[in-house]
Amino acid sequence: MSTKINRRDFLRLAGTTGAALIVLGAKTAASAQASVTKESKHRWAMVIDQAKCTGCGDCTLACRASNDVAKGKEWNVVLQDKPVGGKPVYLPRPCMHCEHPPCAEVCPVGATYKRDDGIVMMDYNKCIGCRYCEVACPYGARVFNWEENTQPNDAVPQWGTPEIVRRPRGVPEKCSFCYQRIDRGLEQGLTPGVDRRATPACVVACPAGARIFGDLNDPESNVSKWLKANDHHRLRADLGTEPRVYYLAKRS
């Protein structure tokens, strides 16, 4: 084999390689656009009415029990929002399940991915624990398992029983819209958002009825009706992430 290569050959090779890379890059970008328009049967969404939320935190406890979340590593937090008319306002914050999830885009191994129904999932067996998703999430929705969770779950059994396995040390975790309840419910012919057993634990647990859940593809679903009837907003709409969690603002 002759390994003698002159300069023109290098430049040609370098040019060809470069062109191939540009084509590859363009194709990747194009496929990223294509995935947006993909049709799916369901499009799950959550609506949170800040006017109704009393900040009791039951949602956090139900989430902790159902998803076996460690205390202080909450998937669903309730924050203090700006007071309206001198009265406190609360902001419950689960994962936003973005239409364009930055976490899923950056994950090097595809451990975080978006399902066709819009749920942003974590494959805890694939994750290498690089924490890029945590850096990229604009909503602070992710918590990392810096150490193994060996504590008993203090929300069990009062607030529910764990429905999924505990995550190992070294991976980040986050809210999944209780996909396990949705998937199992659909198998049993139930309607998520209507039947309690097929609805996210936080929605079921809310004593004030501040949360509703349902299918945006179904115009008769509660979420579709609520969003049609009320002014609503999403967190950091300017980022273009298009969350699937909608908020109804506190009216003064």
Partner: protein, 421 residues
Amino acid sequence: MTKNNFTLVDVLRHWLMYPIWMLGLAITILIGLAAGIAVLVKGLSLTGLTDNIPWGLWITLDLSSIAISAGAFSLSAAVYILGIKSLRPVARVAVFVGLIGYSMALLALLLDIGRPDRFWHAMVYWNTHSVLWEVTMCVALYFSVLLVEFAPLIGEAAWMQKISPRLATMMAKLHHAAPLLAVAGLGLSLLHQSSLGAMYGIIKARPIWFKPDMSILFIISAVAAGQAITVFACMVVGKLRGRTLVDRSLIDGVARFIGFTVLGYLYLRFWDFLSMNYTNVPGRGESLSVMTSGSLQWNFWIGEIILGAAIPAGLLLWARTRDDDRFVMLATALIVMGVVIYRSDTNLSGLIMTIAYTDALSPTLVTYTPTWIEWATTFGVVAYGLMAFTLGVRYLPVFTAAHHEDEIEGVKELTPSAMTA
């Protein structure tokens, strides 16, 4: 110094310095190794990292190790693609430094990821949309390129020829692939050295990072740091051996090129910084003020800009200081330091302010202090790099390249000054 009349300095220099140096490195490596094993056993709870600042000292070590390795691809490209054949001795040193740098980065990564047992996942599970996936693939491929580029150094070593003459000859023959490897290295490095910046640049959630020039700033600063550490290494080894190992006119040419590169970097950085001041993006102003007048101000003004870029650029561009070995060594060391601080500041400035995703939350300053475990492992990895370099210089022909005139055809012999002209 007169013959047969050794002074204390001579004794130190000729007999004691090497063992003391190696002993110091060995101890640092052992402490780092113990700390590293502790991290693998006990996990990342041993670090000062939090959910607010999930990337810290190790990511700085990682980014810096890769940045200082950029001399390998840029100088190899200069030799085999631009045809500045005379630079080959410098490129050879740069390739060796690069190999060590990338291995340091891999060690740092292994510590940093939460599941080191799954380090191979990026090879198997591809998310082609992820910049980090692309970086991982490029680093893996380029590390392989560096290994092949490095093979002739082992093949040419006398001890290798004694152990297995056939294998040694085979390894030495790999130098024929050098031009091809230079093309591959250039492509792979242009990709991942830039995308390491883009890794930050595409993060919309962190407004101080979110800008298109992150990739450009990263690759330019990496080329400066990579060539600077190569020049520094050539000169330090030359001083210790008491003889010139790399022709001074070569050093001069590369030093001048580094000076212009740093100047270009400063120019881009100035407009980058200035334009950011005019965009009132929530969180960006807060992060900027941390750098200009807050907790990172010393790092930024002194470490990055004045000592890390402006002064060394001047020292390398002014002929009078560039002629003085001491100033060239000082300037190149300062540039490496400046780029390391730049990497650290980049990482911290984005994470140090919490994200405000609703009106009630204003960006607040959070802090990160590396634990002694993080420092010990970091020093351990650096000591490993220094020891590998020391051993390489001693037992491999890093500075005594064999002449392979058949390597490349049609390459003109150019003077180093032609490179910057």
